[in-house]
C-alpha cells in the first residue's frame, strides 16, 4: 500500500492525558524509526506532565490551584498555547473556551496567567491531544520521517506524508457503526461528540449558557494543524450545525473542512476543502 522504498515500519504506544496515543511510522531505517517513535512517545509523556488535568503534578494543575489569587508565571510554551486558545476563543465568538466562560488574564510581558474569579479553571482536555500531535509531527519532520500516522484517543489524528491514510468515522453512539471512510493526506483531524455510549450528559459545555450540550451530533474537523482541528471541532460542535455552517462560510480563509455527523448516521460536509 505504501511506497516500496519505505519498507520498514515501527509502531509504539503510550498512555497520556487520560487516553492512549499511537505512533505508526514508515521509512527505510528501522533503528532510526524506532528512535524517532520513542522520541515522539517521550514528547507525549512530557506534554502530559504539562497539560494533563488528570495529573495534580502538571503545570496546568498548578495554574488552576494558584491563579485565582495572583498572577502565576508559566513557561513560554504553555503561555503560547494559552494565547492560541484565547485567539481561538475570540475567533469562535466564545464557543471554544478553555475556561468555560471564566475570565483569564494573560500578561505577555511576564508570561503570567491570572483568573479574575475564584472558581475559574482551565481545561486543556480538548486541545492538549492536538497540541501533542503537532509537537510529535515536528519531531518527525526534524528527523526526516516523511510518512506516519499519529493519533491520540482515536479522536485526534495527524496523517503525515504524501500517501493517503484511511480513517473511519464512527457513529458517536454506536461505535461499531462506521458512518464514513475518509482519506487523510498530510492533514490533521479532530472529532468531538456531544456524548458517547453510556454517557448520560455531555462533557462539552456551551460557554455562553454554561450548560452541557444536548442532541447527539458529532463534529469532525480537518485542518492544517491538530491544535486548530481541536479548537474548531469543539467550537463548532458547541455552536450547533446551523451556526457552524454560517461560521465556516463567513471564515472561508480558515481553510478548514468540517463534517457534521447526525444521530441518524448521516454526514454533512461543509467548509473549504
Amino acid at each position: 500500500m505504501k511506497d516500496a522504498a519505505l519498507s520498514q515500519s515501527r509502531f509504539r504506544t503510550c498512555e497520556a492525558m487520560g487516553t492512549r496515543f499511537e505512533v505508526f511510522l514508515h521509512g527505510q531505517d528501522a533503528e532510526h524509526l524506532d528512535a524517532v517513535a520513542v522520541a515522539v512517545i517521550e514528547e507525549f509523556v512530557r506534554l502530559d506532565s504539562v497539560l494533563s488535568r488528570f495529573d495534580p503534578r502538571s503545570e496546568i494543575a498548578r495554574v488552576n490551584r494558584e491563579a485565582s489569587g495572583r498572577a502565576v508565571r508559566v513557561d513560554r510554551e504553555l503561555f503560547a498555547l494559552l494565547e492560541k486558545c484565547e485567539q481561538a476563543r475570540r475567533k469562535t465568538a466564545g464557543y471554544f473556551d478553555v475556561a468555560r466562560g471564566a475570565s483569564v488574564v494573560l500578561d505577555e510581558k511576564y508570561c503570567t496567567v491570572q483568573f479574575t474569579n475564584a472558581d475559574a479553571e482551565i481545561d486543556l482536555g480538548a486541545v492538549g491531544k492536538g497540541y501533542a500531535l503537532d509537537c510529535g509531527r515536528e519531531i518527525l519532520l526534524r528527523y526526516g520521517v516523511s510518512s506516519g500516522l499519529l493519533q491520540g484517543g482515536t479522536s485526534s489524528v495527524w496523517a503525515i506524508g504524501n500517501e493517503s491514510w484511511p480513517v473511519d468515522l464512527r457513529h458517536p453512539l454506536s461505535p461499531e457503526l462506521i458512518v464514513s471512510r475518509i482519506e487523510l493526506n498530510d492533514c490533521a483531524l479532530s472529532c468531538s461528540a456531544v456524548r458517547q455510549t453510556g454517557q448520560q450528559q455531555s462533557d462539552v459545555t456551551n460557554p455562553h449558557t454554561g450548560k452541557p450540550l444536548t442532541g447527539d451530533a458529532a463534529c469532525v474537523v480537518l485542518a492544517a494543524s491538530a491544535t486548530e482541528a481541536e479548537f474548531f471541532s469543539t467550537g463548532l460542535l458547541a455552536m450547533g450545525r446551523k451556526r457552524a455552517e454560517h461560521f465556516l462560510t463567513a471564515y472561508a480563509d480558515l481553510e478548514i473542512t468540517a463534517g457534521w455527523i447526525e444521530a441518524d448516521g448521516s454526514v454533512h460536509w461543509f467548509g473549504s476543502r
Partner: protein, 417 residues
Amino acid sequence: MTVTRRTFLGTAGAALTANALLRAEEPPVRVVVIGTGARGSDLIRALTTIDGVELVGVCDDYPPHLEQGAKYAGPQAKTFSNYRKLLDELKPQAVVIAVPLYLHYQVASDCLSAGCDVFLEKTMCYTVEEARKLAAQVIASKHVFQVGLQRRANAIYKQAQAMVAAGMIGQVTSIKAQWHRNNSWRRPVPVPRDDASWAALEKKLNWRLYKAYSRGLMAELGSHQMDVVNWFLGAHPKRVFASGGIDYYRDGREVFDNIGCLYEYELSGENGKPYTIRVNYTSICNNAYEGAAELIMGTKGSLYLTSAKGLLFQEKGTDVVSWEGGQNAADTNAAVVTAGKTLKLSNDPWAHRGAPIEIDIAEGNDTRDELVSFIDHVRRRDAKTIADAAVGLADCTTILIANQSVETGGWVGFPNP
C-alpha cells in the same frame, strides 16, 4: 502501631514552595543554563516559572539544542556556544548545568571558580576522583551547590523517608529497586545514516551509549534510586557485586543494556548491634513490566515508591491474628474445624499484600521543586542544600563501584576518602 490513612499526611508538601515567593520583591537571582538538550530544556522551562528568577543566558555547543533552549528561555536570555565566554560576559549568580557526564567536573569547577553557585545535574562526576576534588572545591569556596537528585524534592519521597525514620515499616532489612523499560535508549540523529556528518553527530547525541562520555544505566538512572537508598538508610553501601553486559542491543553501543547489582549496607541497630541490609538493583532496556520503582521492605511493612505514587503495605500476620473468627487462637481453630465448610482463600497471587495505604500528597513537579529549593538556598546563602556535595559524592561513588564490579568481576568495597 496503628496507622491510619491520615496519620502522616500533609507535612511535607507546602513549605518548600513558599520561601522563594515571599521574597519576590527582592532583586531577581540571575541564572544561566549550560547544556540545553532534553534535560537542560526541562530545567529551563521549570526555571522560567519560578518567581524571583531571571534567566539571563543559555549555552550549548550544538546549534539546534541552543536554538531550542533559547526559545524556551525567552528573548532576555543571551545565547552562547562557549560557557567560559558566558561566565565572563554575564557573571551570573547561579549556574544550572546539564551537559554530558564526562564534562560535569570541568564545567562545574570552572563555574565555582568564576564565583557562581552551582546546580549540577546528576550524576555528580564521571569519576570518584573528580567528585572528591569538586566536593573539596565546593566546601572551600562556600558556594551553594546542589546535585540534580530530584527525588529529594519530591513530596512522596520526603513523606516516605519520614515514615521510615519514624519506624512505620519496622526495621528495614531489604530493598529492591529497578528501572526497567523497553526501548533502545537511542536518540534519533537528524541526518541520514549515509551522510558524512552522521557518525560524529550520532556519538554527540547518543553520548549516553559511549564509555568515554557516559557511565551508562547506573549513572543516568540508577543514581536517582541508589540516592534514595542512601538517603533512607542514612548510610552508604559497604560493598557491591554487580553483573552486566550488552545483551540485547548489540548495535555498537559501549555501555551495558542490562545490569544487576547486589549492595550490602552495614547499619547499627538498637544497642549498637550491627545488622546488614541487602539492596537489589537492576536496570534493563527490553522489558518494562516492573517500571521504575523502589520497594523498601521492613519487618512491619513495605513502601512501594515511584515519583507519582507512594504505597504503604503493612505486613500481615505479624502483630495481628488474622484467621477468621476472632482473637482467641484456640477458639478460632476450633470454630474453623467444626464449621464443616472449607474456608476459601483468595487465589489472587497478591492477596497477601492487602490493601495499600496511599501517600496522597502528589502535588508539585519534583524538577521544579528541586530548583525552587536551590534558588531559595542561593538567596539565603545556605550551603545545606537538599543534595549537597557530600550527598552527590556518596551517590556518585555508590554507582561507580557497581560499574567497577562488573569490570573486575568481584566484590568492590566503598572506598575510604
